[in-house]
Amino acid sequence: MKSTDLDRIEVNPKTMPKRTNPLANVFDDLVRFCRSRSMFMLHYCTGCGAIELPPAMTSRFDMERLGIQPMVTPRQADILLITGYVSIKTLKRVILTYEQMGSPKYVIGICSCTVNGGMYWQSYATAKKLDEYMPVDLYIAGCMPRPEAVIEGLQQLMDKIKNDQANSWKQYYENYDYYLGNQQKLFGNNWQTPTDVIGEAEIYRLMGPQTLGEHTKILQQVQKPMEPLEMKL
């Protein structure tokens, strides 16, 4: 097996700015409608709120009614549910996961902990505000929110997607420097992920004035090309 090439990104022509097709808007609406009716959520239990997801998924509250299914890998998923606190160790994985998800992608912050630290505000081990590290589309209040509240929240996200209001994923590219800065503050300046966010931003034409900055400079200095590690346990 060959080692991984850096991910190559193909650009969907639909994102290109010039659009001449008169049906383009109708087509866009259709795609957005389908996006809202088919949300694959990443099966990742980051915190204790995850215990209310199985009830929401299974027979009693049956998320599949809304077209929501759990998916196993970030590549397949559209929504990332951050279910409660994220310990710093998990946060690294969450950021990697988020970057690996295909756009458009949506983040839902569940429980108190994702907003302002929640129960664990004194803890040295958890991150306090999720939106410092990645843009969040929707928060669901509760500790933890009941399955009904989760489903209600997902329905709101569906509405937002349908109305083209859930575009936080673009912010991640447009303000990458800000997010990277917060990540570096927490993980140290050597922090890097295998995903080339700046490159993706260029391809998506989402380079904003805040995409590059002092933090990305640090990243570009320390960034090592992906190379395979020696096998060790």
Partner: protein, 186 residues
């Protein structure tokens, strides 16, 4: 358990030098011994009193005494008495012997104590980090590590400013800074 068993256990334990026994209740026996005598006690309990189950090893940081207290909670399925063996180890340099050779579960507890308190166990099979692999601060469970302070230094909080608060602030009210400042001064 019956009193005969309890008697024989007491007699048995007297073999350890300098042991102090306290019956906390019917099923809890506290044994204070010196750190040197602990392996002998554990070997004795395991070998001759049926104490095969090491329930836990707890560590307490008595910072004022400059000591760590290690508590070995042992359970015997035969006598149904839980013995807690308490020893004290100097906080500095913080090294003690592993009891892994007597009790296998000790490996996890010793590893845990090592990363949480920084107390090293000689002879334990694995002293590498388990939980705090991405933590480079001091061992967090030590009393001299102030978690809240660390959090305040490293994180910021939501800066809420909802409309109702703006309204109240216009009227001259607002968030009360601390509980005491709300009091009238004399």
């Amino acid at each position: 358990m019956n009193s005969a068993q309890s008697q024989s256990l007491n007699v048995l334990l007297q073999e350890i030098e300098g042991i102090q026994l306290t019956h906390q209740n019917q099923r809890r026996l506290r044994a204070d011994i010196s750190a040197d005598a602990l392996p002998a006690l554990l070997a004795l309990l395991r070998g001759r009193a049926g104490y095969v189950h090491l329930s836990a090893i707890s560590c307490v940081d008595w910072i004022e005494d400059d000591q760590f207290e290690l508590v070995y909670h042992l359970w015997s399925y035969e006598t149904s008495i839980l013995i807690s063996a308490h020893i004290r180890v100097a906080r500095d340099p913080g090294i003690y012997l592993s009891v892994f050779d007597i009790y296998t579960p000790a490996a996890f507890f010793e590893r845990d104590i090592h990363e949480m308190f920084g107390l090293y166990f000689e002879g334990s099979p694995d002293m590498s980090k388990f939980i705090l692999t991405e933590w480079d601060g001091p061992p967090p469970m030590r009393k001299d590590f102030d978690s809240e302070q660390w959090v305040m230094d490293n994180f910021t909080w939501q800066d809420y400013h909802p409309d109702w608060l703006k309204q109240i602030e216009q009227q001259g009210g607002g968030v009360v800074k601390s509980a005491d400042s709300s009091r009238k001064s004399s």
